[in-house]
Structure formats: C-alpha cells, structure tokens
Subunit: 130 residues, 2 copies
DNA sequence: TATATAATAGTAATAGTTATTATTATTATT
DNA sequence: AATAATAATAATAACTATTACTATTATATA
C-alpha cells in the first residue's frame, strides 16, 4: 500500500531494457532482447508498455528511423545523430538544447506554444563512412 | 532534344502540388488534391514520384507526423513546428540551421559525417492552443 | 480465501507504404 | 509518319509496423 511505481515484472524489464542500452532501440529489439529470459512475452505488451512510458515521460521517442520508431531512456533533451546507412542512433551529449529552444521562441509562428524540441543530425556513422 | 527536366504531366502536377502549399502535405493529401483534376491518378504514382523527388532533392521530408510522412517543397534547410494536437506543420523561417549545424560539428560522435540537420519544435499551434 | 482490478498472450485488424505486373504513353530511330 | 524501345502508369497485391480486441492469467484488496 506504500504509494510508488506500478509493478509488473514485464513492465519493469521493458523499461530497464530501454534504459540499459545506448542503441535507442525499437519495440522489436526490446522484444527480441527480453524474449530469451522472459519466454512468455508478447510484442503487444512491449508496445503497450512503451506507450505508457511515453505518456508518463519515462521514455522519449527519438523519431522514426527506417520506418521504425526508436526510443531513448535518457529523457533530458539532447540531439541525436542518425546514420542514413545502418540506421544507428547516437546520443550527442554536451550540447544543450535549451538555448536553441529559447533562440527559436522568437521565430516561432504566432501563437505557437513550444513544448519541446528535437534536433537530429543525419549522415554516416564512423563505421559506415570508413 | 534540349536537355531539361524529365517530363510527365502527372509527375509535374505532383511536384507542383507539393510546392504550392505550405501545409507540408503527405502522399494522401497530394492524391486527394489532384484526383479531381486528374481522375486517372493512382496513389502508387504519387508515392513513386515523391520518392524520385526525394532522391533528386526536389522535395524534402519533414518527418513522420501521426504515422504519415510529410513533405516540403522548400528544400533550403529550416526548422518546422509540429502541432501535437492537429498535426499541422509550419515553417519557421529566418532561423538559419547552418550555424546550429556548425556548432554541432564539435560535439558530433567520432567519425560521424553530418550531411544535414532537422530541427523540429513540438507544441500546440495557435488554433489549437486557444 | 474470495472478489475486484489490472496486465497479458495471442490473434486479428488497421494504415501507410512498397512491390508487381500488365497496360499505356512517351521518346527515339528509321 | 511508322515502328521499335523505353519509361510511366493503374490496379492490385503484398508487406510491415503498430494498434485493437478478447479471453485468460496474475495481482491486489478485503
């Protein structure tokens, strides 16, 4: 009865899976990764719980890469680099989005209330450009 | 025999449709808009030609909004504002992405070659926030 | 333990997009 | 202009990521 987070072994596992990698995985990756240790896991459960995490702000969407939505367990706003060849997504730390955000407020369309910003750099990752 | 652009009434109409609006439309909108004046037009043709435009750089993708990919006929890089409620996409002119781009080069992952940047602001548009 | 509530698996359904193929239009060549 | 080669298209089927649905199972509460 102690007020706290909602429980469910599977839900927790899904959140931890997303938080414990820097791959910015999609739902399928989470499913494939957890399935061996949690045989009774369905893809629908992964999708449903990720939706919950998004709503509760425990996970954030990086956007759609190659037709698949990718997620990030690090919720502080920061830019990402997406490889156009292999689809890898990399964090770009150390660059604060907030300043950019402020800067943009001046130019925002009349009456538009900005909630958050996403900055994505597209190109070729180290592995794919060498 | 004069070297010039490739032709096709439908192809041209599709490109002009995208270029002549600020709605940042998706494929379905282009189809719905042109269908009355070009009854013999199929959705597949719209998709196929948009893919060509993307490859040739005549059109640029704004990203996926509400599960649908949206396009822009203005190809100079500039940020966009996406309304989380109605899905409208608005240009944000007057803010140069290039500076931001440069700024980011320092922080980009080792070996990552940046080709272009996309900055999107999410929030509520004027109509939806009032 | 009994009862109410929430979470899940499995499956079906949906929607955007891409591929296929037969046909039609366009371009090049004679 | 007539014919041959090429490109573009419509119509349809296929595909994929995602969501909805439903019967079942697990969890929490009394």
């Amino acid at each position: 009865m102690m007020p706290g987070k909602k429980h469910s072994k599977k839900r927790d596992a899904i959140l931890r899976a997303i938080q414990s990698t820097q791959l910015h995985p999609g739902a399928q990756w989470v499913y494939d990764t957890l399935k061996p240790e949690i045989p009774g896991l369905s893809l629908g459960t992964v999708y449903r719980n990720i939706s919950l995490f998004l709503k509760e702000g425990e996970v954030v969407s990086v956007g759609v890469v190659g037709g698949e939505e990718r997620f990030d367990g690090r919720v502080e706003p920061h830019p990402h680099a997406v490889c156009l060849r292999c689809g890898s997504v990399t964090d770009i730390p150390g660059i604060d989005d907030a300043a950019r955000n402020l800067l943009a407020h001046g130019g925002a369309p009349k009456g538009f209330r900005i909630d958050y910003t996403k900055t994505v750099f597209y190109g070729l990752c180290g592995a794919c450009s060498s």
